[in-house]
Amino acid sequence: MTEPSVPIGGQIPVEQGASAAPSVAPPGLTDATVEAGLEIKVRSQWDYARRRFLRHRLAMAGLIGLIILFGAGIFANYIAPYSFEQIDLNNILSPPTFAHNHFFGTDEIGRDYFSRVIYGIRTSEEVGVFVAVLSTFIGLVLGAIAGFYGGWIDNLLMRFTDLVLTLPFLAILLTAAALLGEGSQWRVSFILAVLFWTGTARVVRGIFLSLREKEYVEAAKAAGAGDMRIMFRHILPNTLGPVVVSGTLAVATAILIEAALSFLGFGIKPPTPSLGVLVAGGETNPQQWWLTVFPGLTIVLIVLCVNFVGDGLRDALDPTQRRVRA
């Protein structure tokens, strides 16, 4: 994990004896390459990663699903047949129907649940992406500093991650949410990000700890590179694989936890449609199954897609890690 198995700059795959089995192309080679018998092609590490990812079927399915779902969220204004707060008193608690474009039915004051779910996706994706980006950034910077310099910063960081690990996670989140008060998704996202970065920081710190002793870092130092250059130019790229993977998976975790917080009444508050709030709305009307099923199903789909993409990225970017077939 700490060292790329293939040196950056490209490996030269030389495939021989292709004539023995011309119909089966070995992985990583196109048919044309095989037919030529002995073809040399230089590919960068990123080319390999991209090819591995593109060939990962579940990851591609997840990516397409994610583009559709998040696209619907981004363009909610154009896609949703109604606004998320528009009241239609002629169709109260209507089951899913095509009649008035109430595909997911309506709630007790006639708001269209299909539109609300689409706007809910927008809220959830904002939370997920914001938390992932912010927590990854904090974790990256602090992990890099702690791993590179060691000393009291490192000690403090590790004690803090210990602290976060020994706390009842949901309980602390709820307590923090009670402190900051109810409100917009940004407040909830901020709380989540503050508790999420420790995982990334630990991983980055570990990689920095082992790589700062490597000869190439010494060489860079001898050549006169400053600390910043060594940290961000020479060591940081090696952390990218695990960091991208954990960042992707953080999107899913953040969406799930935000939904749970909102459901318990400590997250996003009702005027803003979040998927957790929508499921909670279904709780008060247990006879109207559609109010519970559709928002929840949307959460499941988003999280599934994110997890598949994360798995694909892990397989693609982190070749040293054992592959768990999805």
Partner: protein, 321 residues
């Protein structure tokens, strides 16, 4: 080993102090716990003032924290700020209910998860394997509260349509029924099933991965080469070693669940410790919330320690000094 345990226990004391102080500050800053009483016309301002003085609410947060720490040892976590009842009996009562649920759920999940994990690993890429892989992926992606609500809706519908009561969908007991009765089982069945599905997804997945790790090692090939029966190889050589990581995960999971499955208990209005916490937090009942946080933090620390000791015990290559 003893020195290791002592060191860990001593080390966890400052962690506990810092974490409880932080959460104490959070809850204190979140609002005034007497706000609810203030709206009650039967409490005069003088009484409220006296109460605030008695509960040290007029002091600074560090001073209040110090008084709370003293309460832990002298008065068993003190009294609730809203009901004026002692907190300790409430916590033990609710923790008992939570324990009943999570012990059943975790044991079932562990047995089923391990069994399915073994079989999936042996028959890798079979229909069975793919089916349970799908189930566990769904289990990972499903919000707990949604699963709980679906079960609730399903059984409410069954009751309303056919008037059959298979499982109750909320509460702990029908009136007049005890803690060890069929009625109790009917009440806790749905929370148990919810937790069971979520934990099962984790255990079966880890067991499968861990089995596959071991199955490809050299000593397993050696065992096969010696002519041992496949059953013997799997049970004696693979299964036992594959179980080590599962033991750790189960211990950690159990410690985390001791804090109550907050979401599950809330959905089913189960009188467990997590539901207790949510209710108290909504009222900003400072000392009750802190009592809960202290107990769950200790539970997590203890089970983290158990997990580490278990790991060292099961895998002799791990040595703690």
């Amino acid at each position: 080993m003893l020195t290791y345990i002592t060191r860990r226990v001593l080390y966890s004391i400052p962690v506990l102090i810092v974490s409880t102080f932080l959460s104490f500050t959070f809850v204190s800053l979140a609002g005034n716990p007497t706000a609810v009483l203030r709206s009650n016309p039967r409490f005069s301002p003088v009484t409220l003032h006296l109460l605030e003085h008695q509960q040290h609410l007029d002091r600074s947060i560090p001073v209040r924290y110090w008084f709370w720490v003293k309460e832990i040892f002298t008065n068993k976590l003190g009294d609730s700020l809203q009901t004026f009842q002692p907190i300790w009996p409430d916590l033990t009562r609710t923790a008992g209910h939570t324990l009943q649920v999570i012990i059943i759920a975790e044991l079932l999940a562990l047995v089923l998860g391990v069994a399915v994990g073994i079989y999936s690993a042996i028959k890798q890429y079979s229909v069975f394997d793919y089916a349970f892989t799908t189930i566990s992926f769904l289990g990972f992606a499903m919000p707990t509260f949604w699963l709980a609500l679906l079960l609730q809706i399903l059984f409410v519908d069954i009751y309303l349509k056919w008037n059959v009561r298979i499982f109750y969908t909320s509460g702990l007991n029908s009136p007049g029924e005890g803690a060890w009765s069929i009625d109790r089982l009917q009440h806790i069945a749905l929370p148990v099933i919810t937790l069971l599905i979520i934990s099962f997804a984790t255990y079966s997945r880890y067991m499968r991965a861990s089995m596959l790790d071991v199955i490809n090692t050299d000593y397993v090939r050696t065992a096969r080469a010696k002519g041992m029966s496949e059953w013997h190889v799997i049970m004696r050589h693979v299964f036992r070693n594959a179980l080590i990581p599962i033991a750790t995960i189960a211990a950690l999971n159990f410690g985390a669940l001791l804090g109550g499955a907050i979401v599950t208990e809330t959905v089913f209005s189960l009188d467990g410790i997590g539901y207790y916490f949510i209710q108290k937090l909504q009222n900003l009942d400072l000392y009750a919330v802190m009592g809960y946080l202290l107990i769950t933090a200790i539970a997590i620390i203890v089970f983290n320690l158990i997990a580490d000791i278990l790991y060292g015990y099961l895998d002799p290559r791990i040595r703690y000094d």
